[in-house]
């Protein structure tokens, strides 16, 4: 073999080695030599490549292990203590908890009763506890109404987790609508006004647009105060 041929041959070999490495790394289950061969160019010496690869990982943090004729990468056995607290799959919040969190985020400070009012169902015991435990909500004083119920608001951890700089970053109703998340509201409103003109008496809470106006005025007032009182 000429020197040039030899060099080309070596390059092919090391390219094949890279391929075997990537294939084994990304595989979702241990692979047989045939599995690997089926992904490599024809005629590659798979057994030889796997052996060479295993050699490369000797005494490293990762080993190429063979189990029942199949190959897979694993972290070295003697380092298992580093990962020992093992797999704690992130849990998903229940539907009720996500909704409750959303209401607290948008309406804070808000009492348990108000949350139930908005959701239209009672709040089971565990729901608020889960949010408190996650560190996303916290008590925010008491409402000056009979019974002086606790009010809840969101925490700084909440902002950090959801990547928000401030509560003000939460998209408002108009933003949600622009995002298409409130698509059927128009239909619902149309239906509602049709009902209404049909002579229905109406009862319920709060016009969101009115809320927006109040917000705007409040902010304007807050700014005025800031400007007058530079401290």
């Amino acid at each position: 073999m000429s020197e040039l041929d030899e060099q080309a041959e070596q390059e092919t070999q090391s390219e094949h080695l890279r391929m075997v490495e990537a294939i084994l790394f990304a595989a979702r289950e241990p692979l047989t030599l045939e599995d690997i061969a089926s992904r490599l160019p024809q005629g590659a010496d798979v057994a030889g490549l796997v052996k060479r690869l295993a050699g490369l990982y000797e005494n490293r943090g990762i080993v190429l292990a063979e189990v029942a004729g199949r190959f897979q990468f694993r972290t070295a056995g003697d380092l298992a203590y580093l990962m020992r607290h093992d797999v704690d799959e992130p849990k998903r919040l229940s539907r009720a908890a996500v909704e409750t969190l959303a209401i607290i985020a948008y309406h804070q400070p808000v009492t348990r009763g108000e949350i139930e009012d908005i959701r239209g169902v009672g709040l089971s015991r565990g729901t608020l506890d889960v949010l408190l435990e996650a560190g996303w909500v916290q008590p925010r004083g008491r409402k000056q109404t009979p019974g002086r119920p606790l009010m809840y608001g969101t925490t700084d951890d909440f902002l950090v987790h959801f990547g928000l700089e401030s509560r003000d970053d939460l998209p408002g109703l108009s933003d949600l609508k622009a995002l298409g998340l409130l698509d059927s509201v128009d239909d619902a409103m149309t239906a509602f006004y049709t009902d209404r003109t049909a002579g229905e008496t109406t009862s319920a809470s709060h016009d969101p647009r009115q809320g927006d106006l109040e917000d705007a005025i409040r902010q304007a007032e807050a700014r005025q105060v800031e400007e007058e009182d530079p401290s």
């Binding site: 704690d88 969190l101 908005i118």
Partner: protein, 261 residues
């Protein structure tokens, strides 16, 4: 032209409709600017060197063809056509002394700059999509052992879940009937009367909030008063009794009496 040089149109990987599709398939375009950009590229020169006049011609011709084929044209394509026809006449006519009208060259340049910017973003989008994307071009380990990170939250709820949930609640709520609670109101008539009386001696710029009644403890009533006084100030400004000014967005509003003519 100035130092701006953009890459040639050929470096673009966004698929473009062929000439035929161009006539028949307006749906393929994302609005008039997109259509203009495609036409500009057909000039096969750097976007900084395109002829705006030729571009206008191309666009108007395209629209004429589409109408000839009785294709429904969305309103914004027609608005753009009208605007371009105006631009063309301004570019061809000698400049008039009329300073009210914007400079034709400025309008043309503005259009050209907008095309460059859209083109740049289209190219950027293509470059982004050509990145080695996780899950397509590069993979992470197929069977990770897993490893607990103390700092990670236990719950993996995403912002989108939260927004979705809130939107759903709102949707549910939207079918229930609404009743707007009766609120304390400071009436507009009252506000106009009050402002009119107080304006008589106000020669200095004075903040609108200083005209509010002082004895208002109810924040709801106070808000209503602020709103009514604001509307009252507009009314008095309209009838020439007061002048209003605001130095910046969200800044305080100032009023003062206006000299009688």
């Amino acid at each position: 032209m100035n130092k701006e040089q953009s890459k040639g149109p050929d470096s673009l990987s966004v698929a473009r409709p062929s000439d035929e599709a161009l006539v028949l398939d307006l749906d393929g375009f994302e609005g008039p600017l997109d259509l203009l950009l495609m036409l500009a590229r057909s000039q096969k020169v750097d976007l900084t060197k395109i002829s705006i006049l030729a571009l206008v011609e191309q666009y108007l011709e395209f629209i004429a063809k589409a109408r000839h084929l009785r294709l429904e044209l969305a309103a914004d394509y027609l608005v753009m056509a009208a605007w371009l026809a105006y631009l063309k006449s301004r570019l061809l006519l000698p400049k008039e002394a009329d300073e009210e009208e914007p400079d034709a060259e400025e309008l043309a340049l503005r259009l050209q700059i907008r095309l460059q910017r859209l083109d740049a973003m289209r190219e950027a989008g293509a470059m982004l999509m050509n990145c080695d994307r996780l899950g397509r071009d590069v993979l992470t380990r197929g069977m990770p052992e897993g490893l607990v990170l103390q700092k990670h939250a236990i719950y993996d709820t995403a912002l989108f879940d939260l927004l979705r949930a809130y939107a759903d609640i709102r949707l549910r709520g939207s079918v229930t009937a609404l009743r707007i609670a009766k609120r304390p109101v400071f009436s507009l008539d009252e506000a106009i009367r009050r402002l009119n009386d107080m304006m008589g001696s106000t020669w200095e710029w004075t903040q609108l909030r200083d005209f509010l009644p002082e004895d208002m403890d109810d924040p709801g009533l106070r808000r209503s008063a602020l709103a009514s006084m604001f509307v009252a100030s507009l009314e008095l400004a309209r009838t020439g009794k007061v002048a209003i000014r605001q130095m910046e967005t969200y800044g305080p509003l100032y009023l003062r009496r206006r000299e009688e003519e």
